[in-house]
């Protein structure tokens, strides 16, 4: 939740993180490789898979798991971009509401008679614009992203409701409907889209100059500015990209359901943040990886699907999800604290 105006805990954590970077060189190689949050995620993923298989004989079935993954992939695509935003030291809680808003814009325009391709384009434009609005409030008005996006989350959800009312809008052409049933090489198309985006963003973050600069901005915005990095421009780009990702996710959901309602993806912000945190991205910025988030998505898919197919009451599921979020953040903090010594 660090912002340019913040002082205190966030600041010291950041300074420590810088020190840690230098200190890390001295540790033995096996520690560098093994003691990473992503490894924890991977271990949990494997463990969860075995537990889920033991719980229900119906779980261990690749087709079923891939099919079920389609429900989570929509949030997952947003979570990938959210990873970049959090590494850069900001956060955004509004994309789930924005998914609903963009999908409602799309459906409303389609119903008003606009060609479907144009309506889809409009949804993406609205997504980018709303993302830019978040960026404007955070970067130019210098409001803390964590609170301001709580405001815009309420606002976007409200606008979606005003636009669509309390009914579902549907009647889309058959080629648009049911993207999650389309399979390529045995894998549903949304899962392929998710994986492709993960690869592109992973390469971007790890191997491009801008990608490295995102880490620097998250580690210390002041230092980044002194080093001549255009902090504001990069962050603005990330907010807009997040808006676009939300629009894409909204359209995927519209295709899967063949209809759109204002309350779709409600509560999705928790899932998205959970995916990023579970993947070992540092909440104060400066650290994290796309690989971690990618693994975390599969971890969530396995846990949620495993519990549902074993008929475990939703009660237990809610508690596991909430506890998981807190435990993953604590664990990540400990691992980063440990690597500092």
């Amino acid at each position: 939740m660090s912002t340019s105006t913040e002082t205190g805990a966030g600041e010291t954590a950041r300074t420590r993180a810088v020190d840690a970077h230098e200190a890390a060189e001295a540790r033995p190689l096996w520690q560098v490789v093994l003691i990473r949050p992503e490894v924890m995620t991977l271990v949990l993923l494997i463990a969860a898979f075995f537990i889920a298989s033991a719980l229900s004989p119906f779980f261990a079935d690749a087709t079923f798991i891939l099919e079920s993954a389609s429900f989570y992939v929509e949030y997952a695509i947003v979570a990938l971009v959210l990873t970049l935003v959090i590494i850069s030291g900001e956060i955004d809680l509004s994309p789930a509401a924005l998914m609903a808003l963009t999908a409602c814009v799309f459906a409303w325009l389609f119903q008003a008679g606009l060609p479907i391709a144009l309506a889809m384009g409009a949804a993406v434009v609205v997504g980018a614009a709303m993302g830019a609005f978040n960026g404007f409030l955070v970067l130019w008005c210098q409001l803390p992203s964590i609170i301001v996006t709580i405001g815009t989350l309420t606002l976007y959800r409200g606008l979606a409701q005003v636009l669509a009312g309390d009914r579902s809008i549907g009647g889309f052409p058959s080629w648009f409907i049911g993207i999650d049933w389309r399979v390529w090489l045995g894998v549903p198309v949304p899962v392929i889209v998710f994986t492709a985006i993960a690869i592109v963003l992973g390469i971007f973050l790890a191997f491009t100059v801008t990608g490295r600069q995102i880490y620097q901005i998250g580690t210390s915005p002041e230092a980044a500015r002194h080093a001549g990095i255009r902090v504001r421009r990069i962050k603005m780009g990330l907010f807009m990209l997040l808006g676009i990702a939300a629009a894409v996710a909204g359209l995927l959901t519209a295709s899967r359901l063949a209809s759109v309602r204002y309350d779709m993806a409600s509560g999705g912000e928790l899932q998205m943040v959970l995916m990023v945190m579970l993947g070992g991205t540092y909440i104060f910025g400066g650290r994290g990886s796309i690989a971690g988030t990618y693994l975390a998505v599969w971890l969530l898919v396995v846990i949620a699907t495993g519990m549902t197919v074993a008929n475990i009451p939703i009660t237990t599921q809610l508690i596991v999800m909430g506890a998981l979020l807190i435990i993953s953040i604590i664990a990540t903090n400990f691992i980063y604290a440990r690597t500092q010594r």
Partner: protein, 334 residues
């Protein structure tokens, strides 16, 4: 060391999942998916299924999402398909968002029944709909009940659920129709239809606004369980039970105190228990080949008599609404 304990803690959290395990079954396996957990109304339907299956020897289970949001049931349906159950009975949260996944279930040979609410306009995506009552009679029944309380005279208002709730809108349209066309109701004037979104706070505020905006209001119809309870609470608080009559659709447990203290004279509903009971008998009959699903066919259900499959494969559990008053309310517990 610290790290190891942490991972252990994380694992411990995931093993909370070990609460219940699935066992493969012989015989017919029925699963019922209500709108959401925590809704006492659906517990009665579940009880009907349980008793039905206990008698018929089928295996029954129930599972539900936390919220009644349109898409929240989808992962649960997918999981049940994977569990290879024979029958999925569902009280749908959306008339259209479930189309795709229900089609998939039917492709796999699963019998899909809509229970308590139908996929209005998308009936081809389920095998049959088991509805509580003949919905075309619900609106007129309610108008008649309120009319009898206010001597068929004065201003009345409707407090509904959401503006697009399909069942409520069907009933409200029928209410408007009889109020306009039946001379018996010519002195009753419908002054407002408002929507409380099935939320206690909003329903309460809407009901209070009704009392304030229409000082001459004689009666309120609230054809939704949340709305009628909120309106009863408002009338009781304002102390206007003598001036304003209230009726609607509510559950006996929810309305009991208001009937006892005279805030509400009578309200109506149907039997959710019988729906579960009927659905279990119907499902087993179809699976065993005793019942063929086609409009016009009939079958026997113990305690309910002969039941007819209507147009669009709709099955009505009872014809007219049950009216609850101070005399009979203690016979019911749901």
């Amino acid at each position: 060391m610290k790290r190891r304990t942490l991972i252990a803690a994380a694992l411990a959290a995931s093993t909370v999942m070990a609460a219940g395990a699935a066992v493969a079954q012989d015989g017919i396996e029925i699963v019922y998916i209500p709108k959401n957990t925590g809704n006492p109304y659906f517990d009665s339907i579940v009880a009907g299924f349980e008793d039905g299956c206990a008698e018929l020897g089928c295996t029954f289970s129930t599972t539900a999402p936390a919220t009644p949001e349109a898409t929240s049931q989808i992962p649960f349906i997918t999981a049940q398909i994977q569990r290879r159950v024979d029958v999925i009975a569902i009280s749908p949260n959306s008339p259209d968002a479930l189309n795709q996944v229900l089609d998939r279930a039917r492709d796999r040979g699963i019998l899909v029944l809509a229970v308590n609410g139908d996929l209005v306009g998308n009936e081809e995506h389920r095998d049959a709909g088991i509805l509580p009552v003949d919905f075309t009679k619900t609106g007129p029944n309610q108008v008649e009940l309120l009319g009898s309380m206010i001597d068929y005279e004065g201003e009345i208002a409707i407090l509904s659920a959401t503006t697009d709730a399909p069942d409520q809108n069907t009933w409200i349209a029928a209410m408007n129709d009889v109020l306009e066309n039946d001379p018996k109701y010519e002195n009753m004037e419908l002054v407002a239809t408002v929507y409380g979104d099935d939320e206690p706070q909003k329903s309460t505020t809407e009901a209070e606004a009704l009392l304030q905006t229409y000082p001459n209001l004689r009666g309120i119809i609230s054809p939704t369980t949340v709305g009628v309870a909120a309106a009863a609470q408002v009338i009781q608080s304002a102390g206007v039970a003598d001036e304003v009559e209230l009726t609607g659709l509510g559950t006996p447990n929810q309305m009991r105190p208001f009937i006892k203290d005279g805030t509400v004279e009578a309200f109506q509903l149907w039997s959710p228990y019988n729906q579960g009971w009927l659905a279990a008998h119907f499902a087993v009959g179809v699976r065993n080949g005793d019942i063929e699903i086609a409009p016009g066919n009939t079958f026997e259900v113990p305690n309910l008599g002969t039941v007819t499959i209507e147009d669009k494969n709709v099955i009505n559990t009872q014809a007219e609404l049950t009216t609850f008053t101070a005399e009979n309310i203690d016979d019911f517990d749901f």
